[in-house]
């Protein structure tokens, strides 16, 4: 591979990283918000969220990305392909994250909540100071698992023309007629990204040991 091939590869890697990163950040936050809304059990809203979660979990990423990108113009929206890609990844991962957060809420110690109430904390302070810091640590294995699924699923956004780390290997081999080197490098880069996540998870697990009362 020559310098320009390396350049293209790194550009593809960067595209995968920033699109995945934004989707992960939005998906983790949106999942938490959805879980909070679902806890409130608001009629109709709750049913709509359940419908969204089951639809999003059942739709393949490629299909979702195509659907968003191709249906936007019918609603009179001119969607940038990157925005459509982020939207597809986020809609998909949010549904899974919402379930992860919800189970963290459901399993949170009633004893600890009562101690917070007895100390005069409002529900919001209890959530922010007592529940969230612990839920972040206990949910992290599930969340990180979902993050690595997202990164590994991200080549789906190539279907709407985004040149990500996988797509770019195709382009390079179209010129060099030697597909193996770029694909091997792409594999290594994916593994590095997932490796970072696994490393984060280990740190979280070490901290979680302290929470074992």
């Amino acid at each position: 591979m020559n310098a320009s091939a390396w350049h293209m590869l790194l550009e593809g890697a960067w595209t995968t990283v920033w699109i995945s990163g934004i989707s992960i950040a939005m998906g983790v936050t949106a999942g938490l918000i959805l879980a909070l809304i679902r806890l409130a059990r608001i009629p109709v809203v709750d049913q709509l969220l359940v419908l969204y979660i089951s639809l999003a979990r059942a739709t393949p990423l490629v299909t979702l990305a195509l659907f968003i990108f191709l249906s936007a113009p019918t609603f009179g929206i001119n969607l940038d392909r990157n925005v459509a890609g982020i939207l597809a990844l986020t809609l998909n991962t949010t549904a899974f994250n919402a379930e992860i957060w919800r189970s963290a809420f459901r399993n949170f110690s009633r004893d600890q909540r009562e101690a917070a109430m007895a100390a005069g904390m409002t529900p919001w302070v209890t959530f922010r100071r007592i529940m969230l810091p612990q839920m972040m640590i206990t949910s992290l294995p599930g969340l990180i698992n979902e993050m690595s699924f997202l990164i590994k699923g991200s080549p789906a956004i190539a279907v709407i023309g985004i040149v990500d780390l996988t797509r770019v290997t195709n382009r390079i081999s179209a010129v060099t007629y030697d597909p193996l080197p770029p694909i091997l490098v792409a594999c290594a880069l994916y593994m590095a990204a997932i490796g970072c996540l696994v490393w984060l998870q280990r740190i979280a697990e070490r901290r979680a040991n302290r929470l074992a009362v």
Binding site: S109, D111, Q112, E114, A115, A116, M117, A118, A119, G120, M121, T122, P123, V125, R129, I130, P133, Q134, I137, R210, L211, A212, V213
Partner: protein, 273 residues
Amino acid sequence: MFEKSTSESVRSEQTTPERTAPARTAVSIRHLSKSFDGVEVLRDVDLEVREGDVVTILGSSGSGKSTLLRCINWLERPDSGSIHIGGQRIGVNDAGRPMPVRELARVRARTGMVFQSFNLWPHLNVLHNVTEAPIHVLGKSKAEAETHARELLEKVGMSAKADAYPSTLSGGQKQRVAIARALAMQPEVMLFDEPTSALDPELVGEVLAVIRDLSAEGYTMIVVTHEMAFSRAVSDKVVFLDKGLIIEQADPETFFTNPSTERVRKFLEREES
């Protein structure tokens, strides 16, 4: 403190200048009833706790004593009746409606609770367990809260463990931290829900010693317990609950030597054997 004289419970207001006046009411419970799934756990309970008094609540398990204690800071909602803490009604506002959460939290903060299973927050070290509520509920500065917390940890003999996490402590140590945590809110009344029931026998003493010290310092305390000798030693009043009814209320001497009901006599006999 602001005091609303909305009810009969405020017997002697703080307007009486001399300290010779009878002690004010710290907690007043009237006609309290509560059932779970049709089973009456508390039946028309009346209880008056004066400032500085230590009241122990005895009774066999299932008699409703923990429920009674948990109603005082509204962790359980009674079906009827009223509870006033320092003259302010908890759980129900002046208009007779359920209190908004913020107001309820403010009234709750006038009580401190110590639980049977400690309920420390495991993600915070000992010091921060104690400073958490003073900082985030009372709005104290970090420095001020920590100074006060270290004094309290000293008082319960836990200052050496200020940086330790709860999971590294013994049950007795956890409970002493939990006591410091409750004291940090400078509550008007301390509620103890079987504070030694989850402890190994050899750790019971250290926790009871701390509670005894607090009673000597004049804290108002309501203690649900099974420890008879302790109850007899620290109480100003002993209350006996049976099937949700207060069937005996007396000073400890009368209660333990000359109870007026057959039920209490039987209970004490069984405890002695």
